[in-house]
Amino acid sequence: MFGVLFEQAADGQRYIDWLLSGLGWTLALAFFGWWIAFGIGIVVGVGRTVQNRFFALPARLYVEIFRNIPVLVQMFLWYFVFPEVVPSAIGDAIKQIPPPWASFFPALLCLGLYTASRIAEQVRAGIEALPKGQLEAANALGLSGYLTYRHVIVPQALRLIVPSLTSEVMGIYKNTSVALTIGLMELTAQARQISEATFQTFTAFGAATIVYLCLALIAYQAMALIDRAVRIPGSAPATLPADQDLSGEVQQGALPGAMEAAK
């Protein structure tokens, strides 16, 4: 069924090479976008929880703006509108960027900033779920606000939200497909191109679907491993009742039920 993928395309490459090149862009976008999102997400999420309005208000504004505009619209804003609203010298420089990068950077910015707003809300929820005594104990030891967040609050909050961050990881790599609308030849775009060149629509998108599914599985497993690696010794797995001790080490609690069944 997938034999057609190994045939040679008009440019001398095989169709599977198109697909792999698309996968490369998808992964690059998701990977670098994630780190942007994670970094900004932590800062903004912390900002949402501080008393100081100077930090809290911009953080709130950030989340409201980036979370509530559709990804597709944000993609267009960064690609079409942004170069027009900045000073023309900068705008012209942006327009001079050669093809793959001219789409890649706006897409990266778009996905990074959008996902950051979602991560920020998770981080805020994690921080607010911590017992108040943690903050009090840190205060009582004379730790400053920054040191308290850096060494006491954030490390615990992040551990708490690893399971829910899994869906953000899934989210950012699935949203990479939106980048095809601004001309980035990522996985979905390549699948469409194969479909147009070969008229094998089912094969082309079937292959892309399988690749996306495999990525999902890998992401789930990776996050489950991370969850296990950062779990605090002696603490019960957050999502499993204590009596269901899975040989002490294996902690599958972070996986949703459907994934458990699939294993």
Binding site: P131, G133, Q134, E136, A137, A138, N139, A140, L141, G142, L143, S144, L147, H151, V152, P155, Q156, R159, I232, P233, G234, S235
Partner: protein, 255 residues
């Protein structure tokens, strides 16, 4: 740390001065014009029925709770809204909570080392030596590299005491340190506190452990409805309380 408002060379006998302090939570008056002085080396036991303001009072001493009116001066530094003053006071005031409040993601030793390294600026190795020293003192040195969740409640509370001592505070505040413990673990924590008291540490303890009060307290302070209504030496207080309220309270807790 800048000793902000300490200007004179004379060191007052009092390490803590609480003057006419008021604290409200909404419509509820937690502290109503409370005045209390604690001398260096003095051990004070604060007791009273629940809601009488005793926890609020010691939480005001290190500004975990902000007082609404009156003055609080700790080791010559008045607690205002200045963050630098507050943090410098907190370095000198150790606090032990009812619910331990250890940092669960750090080992026992790391719990004890965090503030000395980050706030006092001592080296990693010096902090570790100090932590192990104090953990030995609370008889828990062999658990240094475990995590809090792997210890019993009594052990956790002793770690919390060691953690506070690692900052080398001039005074220790205890907020019902044994109330969350199983009965058989109360003793090990009290023993640690008695030892600390005998070494001369200045202590203010909110506790209902009257045996402890008898053994170490220089003064028992009895609070009711946000006021200090009786202060006496423990023997006098327990044998012959002056107020009806204290009599009723003692009758209830002794049984």
């Amino acid at each position: 740390m800048p000793q902000a408002t300490v200007s004179n060379a004379t060191r007052p006998a009092e390490i803590v001065v609480v003057e006419n302090v008021m604290k409200r939570f909404g419509a509820f008056t937690a502290l109503n014009d409370v005045t209390l002085k604690v001398d260096r080396g003095e051990k004070i036991v604060l007791c009273g029925p629940s809601g009488s303001g005793k926890s609020t009072l010691i939480r005001c001493i290190n500004h975990i709770e902000k007082h609404d009116a009156g003055r609080i001066i700790v080791d010559g530094v008045e607690l205002t809204n200045r963050i630098a003053d507050i943090n410098s006071v907190r370095c000198e005031v150790g606090m032990v909570f009812q619910s331990f409040n250890l940092f669960p993601h750090l080992t026992v030793a790391e719990n004890c080392m965090l503030a000395p390294i980050k706030v006092r600026g001592i080296s990693q190795s010096e902090a570790r030596d100090r932590a192990l020293d104090l953990l030995r003192k609370v008889r828990i040195q062999d658990q240094a590299d475990k995590y809090p969740a792997q210890l019993s409640g009594g052990q956790q509370q002793r770690v919390a005491i060691a953690r506070a001592l690692c900052m080398q505070p001039k005074i220790m505040l205890f907020d019902e340190p044994t109330s969350a413990l199983d009965p058989e673990m109360v003793k090990e924590v009290l023993e640690t506190m008695v030892e600390l008291a005998k070494e001369g540490m200045t202590m203010v303890c909110v506790t209902h452990e009257m045996g402890f009060a008898r053994e170490v307290a220089d003064r028992v302070v009895f609070m009711d409805r946000g006021n200090i209504i009786e202060e006496a030496e423990p023997e006098t207080f327990f044998r012959d309380p002056r107020t009806e309220r204290a009599k009723a309270f003692l009758n209830q807790i002794i049984h």
